[in-house]
């Protein structure tokens, strides 16, 4: 190895603590970018895999527009010549004793072997068919829970008996149950959630099942689900980009520090006759070694970070859209080259300008070790002008709403960059004021400190910019989450005003007769029978909510965007109210009409009013239960809202009675406060990934400021010695 290169590389060992700090800076940056990208990729690919696996060989699936379907229809399907194979399915999720949610698929093993051939390869125990609550467990889940055939598996709906283990295929934990057992287990006698089909003649089949059913091809189903995730994917992309920006910034800072700290050595080498390109090679070797090591370390760290982030991302998807239990991020050796390239790329980017300056500078200036601070001062105005230009362009981008959201990202990024470039000039302009202010505060050291800020603009501006970026990210994210939370609390106050809520857990359904029982309980003010179902509307998914309009009219205070409480009357007569997002997405304001595919074919609805809603960005249609039953004939209930008059002297007694009756049926009960609390917990979980970005912002601030100040310290080491010689204590160093 050339001695010049050796001289540089030995610094890595000689200044071990600094090398570790630099390595950590690069590793953190790379880990952030890789962790976020991997978790987004894993969550989305798990979702695709799960959909693909659950689809099996099925070309289509048939279901009711809302709610489960009657199994009697299977006889019609069985005799349809367009059907090659079919398999009725109950697709639900249950909660294990450890709190983990898993999917339980109820299938007919004989019909299903043609659809999901992988599952049919598992040896089937006869007890699977005849024993109550018998399930097959996927091998990974069995390993995770340390259970096997013969063991019992406690769940939120009672204990299951494991009769066998089947090969783990998608990474998503899965339980299989015979469909007849599943119908009993979930209280769905004679009903199935959907029928998976292999069709030989789609057109013929579709013509017979057009009315009252939803027939979707596998691709359509996947596309519909992916469409629901569109906004969330955008959010993930934004977070990934932000992580990448943060990562590159950290690596940039580290590389810049490396170059500056070797300035004097470069000067010595130049004085001995080393060519600029030899020094460049030595620098690049060191930077690439550091960048490569940091990149590889960051790759490993990013992998582990992604396992944590994937859970957060999947939890958010499950909370907001549909059940997703992702497989863990799988290790791939490609992660390391990815980290390496990211580490190298960002290091080269970071060292480009300092190296360019170093190669061009006169050897004597490099020998002096310090950067040309006057040059930074002179350049501050030009840099600020560029910053202003970027700010202007960003504002224009942000002001044009018709542009793609990516331009919005670019605009936001530009704002951050533009403001960062202004810091130098702002510091120069503030310099005189700072001098006066700091002198008054701490005398001469204060004045010198202010002078140093302007004198060492090349470093102080970077530190200020790093702090500004971190602070703005932190404040921005905090106020965004805070504002959403405030809106959510306001929204809960308008809509969720029940005294008790029964049900609400996704694996639960409230028996209709319980609703009837409570409804006629003497003294009860009202019971809202709530049904929430996802339906297709103009090619995308929206939520349909069935409620008792009379009860809500009496006890809630909806926030209205258009219309008001008087609109409950038309809702009782068959009209609907829609959420703000639905109104904006489909331009469906009061008075407009649209049709939904009901059990008897298309049904027309008039929009009576538009309300504020924060439960779905895709849109919500709310109708009276009577209308819902007429159109969809789905009697499923997800929860009950119980309302008792505040002035009723028997209020506590009544509420106690409701609690007792719900408990007898094994139904969960929550007070309004508990219910609100669970929603806020859900909200906080959903924003966990975003909050983790706030943490990242603090990491950026730390490394950014530490890097800039270390650079400054190295450049001014001698000056600090002078301060000490003059009698300044370290605590009073003007820096």
């Amino acid at each position: 190895m050339r001695v010049v290169t050796k001289a540089f590389l030995r610094y890595l060992y000689r200044r071990r603590s600094l090398s570790v700090l630099q390595l950590m800076g690069i590793a953190c940056g790379v880990a952030t970018a890789i962790g976020m990208a991997l978790s987004a990729k894993t969550a989305l690919s798990s979702f695709r895999q799960a959909v693909e696996f659950l689809k099996g060989r099925a070309t289509h699936s048939l279901e009711r527009p809302a709610g489960p379907m009657d199994e009697k229809l299977l006889t019609r399907i069985m005799t349809d010549p367009a059907v090659e194979a079919f398999s009725p399915v109950i697709d639900r999720r249950i909660r294990l004793a450890n709190g983990e949610w898993v999917r339980l698929l109820g299938v007919d093993p004989f019909l299903d072997r043609l659809i999901r051939t992988e599952l049919s390869r598992s040896r089937l125990d006869p007890s699977f068919l005849i024993e109550d609550q018998a399930v097959l467990v996927d091998s990974q889940l069995a390993r995770q829970l340390s259970v096997g055939a013969g063991d019992r598996l406690p769940t939120s709906r009672g204990s299951l008996r494991i009769v066998g283990v089947f090969p783990h295929l998608t990474g998503e934990p899965l339980l299989l149950m015979d469909i007849a057992q599943a119908q009993r287990f979930f209280g769905l006698p004679g009903r199935v959630d959907r029928v998976d089909l292999i069709l030989t003649d789609e057109a013929s089949f579709r013509s017979k099942w057009a009315e009252g059913f939803r027939l979707q091809s596998g691709e359509q189903r996947q596309a519909t689900l992916m469409d629901m995730l569109r906004a969330f994917r955008l959010n993930l992309q934004a977070l990934s980009l932000m992580a990448l920006f943060v990562g590159i910034f950290l690596v940039y800072n580290t590389a810049m520090f490396t170059v500056v700290s070797r300035r004097k050595d470069a000067g010595i080498l130049r004085s001995l006759g080393a060519k600029p390109r030899e020094i460049l090679f030595a620098f690049l070797t060191e930077i690439l070694l550091l960048g490569g090591a940091g990149g590889i370390l960051g790759g490993f760290a990013g992998f582990f970070l992604s396992r944590f982030l994937t859970t957060l991302v999947a939890d958010s998807i499950s909370n907001l859209y549909f059940f997703l239990k992702p497989s863990s991020t799988q290790w791939s050796w490609w992660i390391l080259p990815g980290g390496l390239l990211l580490g190298w790329g960002a290091s080269l980017l970071g060292s480009f300008f300092p190296l360019k300056e170093l190669v061009r500078v006169e050897p004597i200036q490099a020998l002096r070790g310090r950067a040309a601070s006057q040059k930074f001062k002179a350049g501050a105005g030009k840099v600020a002008l560029v910053g202003l230009g970027i700010l202007g362009a960003s504002l224009v981008l942000l002001a044009i709403p018709s542009l793609h959201v990516y331009w919005g990202f670019a605009g936001s990024f530009g704002m951050l960059l533009g403001a960062s470039l202004l810091t130098g000039l702002v510091l120069l302009l503030l310099g005189p004021g700072l001098k006066v202010g700091l002198q008054r505060l701490s005398g001469l050291p204060g004045k010198m400190a202010a002078g140093n800020i302007c004198q060492n603009l090349g470093r102080t501006a970077v530190a200020v910019a790093a702090f500004m970026v971190a602070l703005s990210l932190s404040i921005g994210l905090t106020s965004m989450i805070g504002s959403f939370r405030t809106s959510l609390i306001w929204w809960m106050g308008t809509q969720l005003r029940g005294d008790l809520y029964i049900g609400r857990i996704p694996d639960m359904e409230v028996p209709e007769n319980f609703y009837e029982e409570l409804r006629f309980l003497p003294g009860i003010g009202g019971v809202d029978p709530f049904r929430n179902v996802q339906i297709d509307f103009r090619g995308t998914s929206v939520y349909l909510k069935a409620v008792d309009a009379s009860v809500l009219q009496k006890y809630t205070r909806f926030g209205w965007l258009k219309g008001g409480d008087e609109n409950w009357e038309p809702v009782k007569r068959g009209a609907v109210i829609v959420s703000e997002s639905f109104y904006r997405r489909f331009q469906a304001g009061p008075g407009s009409q649209f049709t939904l595919n009901g059990i008897h074919g298309p049904a027309s609805f008039e929009v009576a009013a538009v309300f504020y809603d924060y439960t779905s960005e895709h849109g919500v249609i709310m109708m009276d239960r009577s209308t819902y039953l007429k159109v969809f004939q789905d009697r499923t209930l997800n929860s009950l809202g119980i309302f008792v008059e505040a002035a009723d002297p028997r209020r506590q007694e009544l509420l106690q009675e409701v609690r007792k009756r719900a408990k007898n049926r094994g139904l969960p009960v929550a007070t309004r406060d508990q219910f609100w609390g669970s929603i806020l917990t859900l909200f906080d979980t959903t924003f966990a990934v975003t909050r983790s970005m706030r943490l990242l912002a603090i990491v950026v601030a730390f490394f950014g400021i530490a890097g800039a100040l270390l650079t400054l310290f190295l450049e001014r080491q001698r000056e600090f010695g002078v301060y000490r010689a003059l009698g300044f204590s370290p605590g009073k160093w003007p820096a």
Partner: protein
């Protein structure tokens, strides 16, 4: 005799702002012959270091011309000046400027490697010549000031350059060590016919020179030969 170094009306100004005309060098004309040992004598701030830096091509003049071995430094360009430094010039600094991450041997060998003569035995020989054999594997911070300066001298002489420029070579050493270092440096240069230019503010250094150039405020105001200086 053709001079090995010639300067013609050499000026160096810093901070060339309006109304500020602080010139470090003010029109210096100089001729130094091959094999001469010259002391540049003057107070701090008189322009000695600036002149040495310009002669080595580390810095560039504001005005004037420098010729080294008949070649105009300005027209050589950065690549040419670098070539000159690595093959024909040796530099000894007041604060030694050894690379802290290289051992004593490597600091000396580096010079040979840059000159394109990576001869390990020559590096050992140079260290023996300055009395540092046995300390090859030490790092600069493990040596005394005098020893570090001797490493710097070994680094300068090892490639047998035509010219050695020494900026206050004893400025950081005690009198006894300084004398030994100067004896070593001047003796070696005389033995090899190397031109040696030493910037100094110490009369001690002048004793080792053939010729003394006195610098005041950026001007060479006095020249004395070795004989005159003795008197």
């Amino acid at each position: 005799m053709e001079p090995v170094i010639r300067t013609i009306d050499l000026w160096k100004r810093y901070n060339q702002t309006e109304g500020n005309n602080s010139a470090a060098l003010r029109g210096i004309n100089l001729r130094i012959a091959a094999g001469e040992v010259v002391a540049l004598y003057g107070k701090s701030g008189s322009g000695k270091t600036t002149l040495l830096n310009l002669l080595a091509g580390l810095d560039r003049p504001t005005q004037g011309r420098i010729e080294v071995e008949g070649q105009d430094l300005e027209s050589l360009g950065e690549a040419g000046r670098t070539r000159l430094r690595r093959k024909r010039l040796g530099f000894v600094f007041q604060f030694f400027n050894l690379l802290p991450t290289l051992t004593v041997f490597e600091n000396v060998f580096l010079s040979l490697e840059l000159a394109g003569k990576p001869d390990r035995e020559a590096a050992r020989e140079a260290l023996r010549a300055v009395g540092l054999d046995g300390k090859e594997r030490r790092f600069p911070h493990e040596l005394s000031g005098g020893e570090q300066q001797r490493v710097a001298i070994a680094r300068a002489i090892v490639k047998e350059p035509a010219i050695i420029l020494a900026d206050e070579p004893t400025g950081n050493l005690d009198t006894h060590t300084g004398e030994r270092v100067l004896d070593l440096l001047a003796g070696r240069c005389r033995h090899h016919g190397t031109t040696l230019i030493m910037a100094t503010h110490s009369p001690l250094t002048c004793r080792f020179a053939d010729r003394m150039l006195r610098m005041v405020d950026g001007l060479v105001i006095e020249e004395r030969s070795g004989e005159e200086k003795q008197t």
